[in-house]
Amino acid sequence: MKSLGSLSLRHKLFGVVLLTTLVALIVALGSMVGYDLRSYHRNLLSDMTTQAVLLGRTTVTALAFDDPKVATENLSVLRFRPAVNSAALYNARGALFATYARKDEQRAFPKLPEVDGLRIEDRDLILFRRIVNDGEILGTVYLRADYELFDRVRDYLEISAGVLVAALGVALILALRMQRFVTRPVLAIAEIARDVVSKRDYSRRATKLSSDEVGTLVDSFNDMLAEIDRRTGELEASNAKLAREIEERTRAEHEVLRLNAELEDRVRERTAQLETANRELEAFSYSVSHDLRAPLRSIDGFGQALVDDFPEHLPEEARRYLDRMRTATKHMGQLIEGLLNLARVSRRPLERRPVDLGQIARQVVGDLQQREPDRAVEVSVWDGMLAEGDPQLLHAVLENLVANAWKFTARKDKARVEIGSLKDQGRTTFFVRDNGAGFDMTYADKLFGAFQRLHAASDYSGTGIGLATVQRIVHRHGGRIWAEAEVGKGAVFYFTLVFDGEQAARISQDFKETQG
């Protein structure tokens, strides 16, 4: 079943017109018929009552004189009232006195009069009325008349039906003609709307046929289409822009990926190059170690051979030159050794173990004292200098620093060397202090460069590689090295290793375990 909502506008309009017409007619006809039937009923009642009263008056005499004949004559006047079926008079005792009946009437009269009153019975109106004269009841009038209300109702219904059909027909024809004015513009809009939706063509416009609400609707609809058209345009433009951006981004991503790949290639290439360089460096170190020493040994060896084998042929001067050559050879040998050490320090894997720097320092000092037993140096090594690091490399650090201190205090009367540590906020700084030659702080930044020397070789011998090696070892441990000095008063070398309070406790524990 179609719901009301899905009916077409035209049908709805018809429905409204017809329903309105129908209801209006029904109400109008109903009111008229109701009024007419009520008037008929009332008129009939009052007419019959009057008739009964009149009959009462006219038959008073006949009743008083007990003359039924006159009474019958009196009743016969009723033949001029076709609506009256039958009539009768009863005397005071209630006996039938006179009667009248219309020709077609066959029903019997009531035997006894009833009390005053009216009643409708069997499509007839039945009426009884006392005849009273001077306060005395003389008899009763009985009237029976046609009550045609139902016939009237039937007639009216027939007429109403006819009127309704006719009126509805006219209304339908009118509606058919009129609806075009109302529905056509609306249907046109609907048509265009359907078109727009199915073809997505927002450039269509509805034609304005009237300037009523539908006209306003057309305007609004056209405005809306224009707006949609504009928005769609914008949306398409923005979509296109977005698509372009996505494309660009994708291109950029590809570019990034390509660059990444290139970078990885380059990293691989560089790594390979580095590995090659490392291998070459190792090969270089190796050949330095083997091959650079051999010629030195030859120079030194054959120089010595000259001195040994031809003592009488060599003048004093030649001997001195040979000595200088051999000193230079020795120095060259030390330089090679130093460079190899520096290279080795960078190359070898770092081992981390608990180390007692004090113990190492005492060992280093012992070696120095053994090598130069004539030197009187006051050495003090603090206790509890625990650290974590590569024992061999840290040995090299102290060996270099303490040997430097030893060397640069050579010209002091009371040479002093102190090896200790300072703790500050959980960090430990180790130091090697001497009261030796010191150096000018202006050149402090050159101290740790390879082959950098702050003293003339004639004053203090050395290769200039020791501190560079020390610095590299400290850096490999994640620490820092620096120095403070004053010319003629001494120098202090400080260094840290990555080390904090927690580590200190742990190292101390480890150390006890390894020692125990």
Partner: protein
């Protein structure tokens, strides 16, 4: 029979200095010189230009340089140690190298001793002298099998 020494050395200077140091130390044992790794093996196994040396005594000590043409010292050492005839011959590695790795590989390959050639001749001469005295006079060669 007097013990002999096989010196495997490619550097003629080092060869002469070594021989001179031995002479100066009055060590008169015969010294054979091989100038590359292959020659050292030929000498030991009586092959190549040393064919026909069969029956002669094997050296009381081999002084072996590591950096040699053709076969290097470690290769020579490995070959000597893998042959039953030379498995027990005392070998002293005498080299310029102080690399830990060389030292380790030498001992792993069965060297009896590792001596670094000092740059200064007096120290070098002292080392060679001590070696000569030790291996020629003090040390007892492994019994012949």
């Amino acid at each position: 029979m007097e013990k002999t020494i096989l010196l495997v050395e490619d550097n003629p200077d080092d060869e002469e200095l070594t021989l001179r140091a031995l002479r100066k130390a009055n060590i008169v044992n015969e010294v054979f010189v091989a100038r590359d790794g292959q020659e050292a093996l030929d000498f030991m196994f009586c092959t190549g230009k040393h064919a026909g040396r069969e029956g002669q005594a094997i050296p009381g000590v081999i002084l072996l340089d590591l950096k040699l043409p053709k076969l290097n010292g470690i290769d020579v050492l490995n070959r000597l140690r893998s042959d039953p005839r030379t498995k027990l011959v005392p070998v002293v590695v005498l080299t310029s190298s102080s690399e830990d790795e060389d030292m380790l590989r030498s001992y792993q390959s069965g060297a009896n001793s590792y001596v670094r050639k000092p740059v200064e001749f007096p120290a070098f001469a002292a080392a060679v002298t001590q070696l000569g005295i030790y291996w020629m006079l003090l040390n007892e060669s492994p019994p012949k099998g």
